[in-house]
Symmetry: C2
Subunit: 419 residues, 2 copies
């Protein structure tokens, strides 16, 4: 049996004890993890330094190295996040419905943990602690598989989490870290652990997610690909348009809620595009557009390449943006619904009717009027951290907090009633 | 392109108009369907008579023929169910959360339709109307594929549903019926219509569901297999035990919430089993059990065969029941969690502690203390009809009404805020 399957089995067997533990005990475990991570900062940073050394030798790019890096400040931020989740409201046991039937039978619908949550992610050590905390908050055991470039950092963090469970009197086996796996055979085994893993959440780039969705036999929640759009309606305020587009594109181009594509009403392109394109250009954004957008860009003195059909469906995750002119709000909605990954989209307009039409028509997890798509975030939405942002419709949609890691159960009490 | 894919595409294209229609218009369509079904009773019954004739010629069993039969009374019951769903509360647009963020941005979380729901079912014509009504109630387009033995009956009912949509000013294409398909190629195409079908709900026996789960590339919700258990704890009241077991096993043995397996505390088997087994035997139930159960049955003068390991995991859907003796409530919980399909299970006991331990420990959609598992039903639970009973944990668990056919969407309104 593969290591991953063995670990999934251990998590599976530990799950009922975690599910049965009171919220206060699970809070204590998350809090203890925050303390242990701080106490072991030196050792965790040393493990991270070894990961980084190997990554540098292997020629990892600077942004990815930065994502992998743990220093004292980042350790403190991980600990702070654990402390915050330890204080969060517990979703387990919440009564979400119920009634007394005509026969006198009492029906209650409760939130209960899913069981075992598997998370496959990239070389971002902090995901280890975050995922652990949200799983414990929701009463789930977890199997974690981080990117192999972060193997030692993740293992050190996972060890602190396991010790924290034990300290709180919970089974340490309820957090499992699947070790380095250059050949991906362990990951492949994990995503096929039907009957042991209740849900798999891949966190990372499109290729990681695609390989999980295609290979998994356990239920998967697709997360985090964001080909997000900003649509400038003819009644857009120019200043708001510039502010929102620049923020959505440039404030953090590598994240999933960053904008990738700009739509503008044909009849207002001459008024709206020049200031927006100039601002983007000043922020170093490479632009591609359709013929009409290229004409406007040329007359505004902004460089713009010709977009190909592929551009409309591409999540650049970089300082690059596609620009298309559309007839009206209905055409904008149709374009978005065709090319979007259904993550986050925004309209900029002072027209009440246009905003409401866009908000109702666009079929995405989060739809904005006159605000940046960058707000789509579990922390910002008040979920207290997130395990991912679901771009699918079943079970969870948008930022997923602890509640998204629960299911419900009907509990029915009677005195011998039959039907 | 296959017929099923063409129809899925038509439903997909009609879905936004259905999703955008006000609740009152969708209510009118469901109500009109009820009226049209009554008006066309003669024609629908004639189509059904042709289906029945073919079914008889093909040697269909009497219970399946009865399930296929439509007569005036059953048409009236279909129409009544449509009327009832037309008056139900509409889940679409319900605000299920939200807040105003520090920046003044208003976040609202709304229920929205899934889009296109595909339902693959057996030769039960009434499912056509029920599925249509719950899909329209939840703002979804639907693609229906009934068992080929009911082809003419289902097509006649689906035609009435399509005409009802048109009468209410909605696109008739939002209900699609996939015609007779002896080779199952249309079904195979339908369950692979990724991007056109948002969720597939198979309704029927274990083999239909398994073939859908294994073959589908669209998201599936597993429904309706019920290897349900009744556990008689040492402190069970004998009268309640007899009443509940007989009702759960015998009142309708062919349905998924019927009990299939009986567990009893070893130390109380001599007191509890004889009256229960005698009552089951009087109702014509064939019994199989473990060694200890067989001994008790023998001394009570009740016939009982020896159970094989396969029996514990079998859903008989017939007047047959397996009987096992267990050490205590923890052993009962472990047995149930191992062999159950996680549908409905019940404990009979006057012990508060035993009941609460069973209710908390059993990992099924519906868990009962001192009541029959037969209550697990969307109508009984007040969901107003059901599209199926989910035995999985993601998205929906237990009886699924209209709300289970929706997802949520975040709608965010601002005045130019950026992050």
């Amino acid at each position: 049996m593969s290591e991953a399957l063995k670990k999934a089995r251990l998590a599976h067997d530990a799950a009922p004890r975690l599910a049965a533990a009171p919220a206060s005990v699970r809070s204590r475990a998350i809090e203890a993890a925050g303390r242990l991570v701080l106490e072991r900062a030196g050792e965790i940073c040393a493990a991270n330094a070894r990961d980084l050394e190997r990554a540098r030798a292997a020629g990892m790019s600077a942004p990815l190295q930065d994502r992998l890096l743990l220093d004292q400040a980042r350790i403190e931020s991980i600990a702070a996040s654990l402390r915050e989740i330890s204080r969060q409201e517990d979703p387990v046991g919440r009564v979400v419905g119920g009634s007394t039937l005509a026969s006198g039978v009492r029906v209650e619908r409760l939130r209960v943990p899913l069981g075992v949550v598997a998370i496959v992610y990239e070389a971002r050590p902090n995901v280890t602690a975050d995922a652990f905390a949200l799983c414990v908050r929701s009463g789930n055991a977890c199997v974690l598989k981080g990117g192999s470039a972060a193997a030692e950092s993740c293992a050190a963090l996972a060890a602190a989490c396991a010790d924290a469970l034990a300290e709180a009197g919970l089974p340490a086996d309820a957090v499992q870290y699947v070790e380095d796996d250059a050949g991906h055979t362990e990951t492949a085994a994990l995503i096929r652990a039907h009957g042991l893993v209740d849900v798999l959440i891949p966190r990372g780039g499109a290729s990681l997610i695609r390989s999980c969705v295609e290979g998994a036999t356990v239920p998967v929640i697709e997360t985090g690909t964001g080909n997000c759009h900003i649509y400038l309606h003819r009644d857009a305020d120019v200043e708001k348009a510039v502010g929102i587009v620049v923020n959505a594109k440039c404030s953090r181009p590598g994240v999933c809620n960053a904008a990738e594509s700009l739509l503008v009403d044909d009849c207002a392109a001459d008024r709206l595009l020049p200031p927006v394109l100039r601002a983007l250009s000043e922020h170093g954004v490479q632009l591609v557009g359709d013929r009409r957008a290229c004409e406007v860009a040329a007359s505004a003195g902004v460089a713009m390449g010709e977009a190909t059909d592929d551009d409309w469906g591409t999540e650049y995750l970089d300082l690059k943006m596609s620009v298309a002119c559309v007839e009206d709000v209905d055409a904008a909605v149709a374009h978005v619904n065709r090319y979007s990954t259904h993550h986050s989209e925004a309209i900029v307009s002072e027209s009440y009717a246009a905003c409401e039409r866009f908000l109702a028509g666009v079929d995405s997890a989060a739809v904005y009027a006159n605000a940046s798509t960058r707000f789509t975030d579990g922390g910002v939405f008040g979920l207290g951290g997130e395990i991912g942002i679901s771009t699918q419709k079943l079970h969870a949609r948008g930022p997923m907090g602890a509640e998204a890691l629960t299911t419900t159960k009907y509990v029915i009490r009677g005195e011998g009633q039959v039907r």
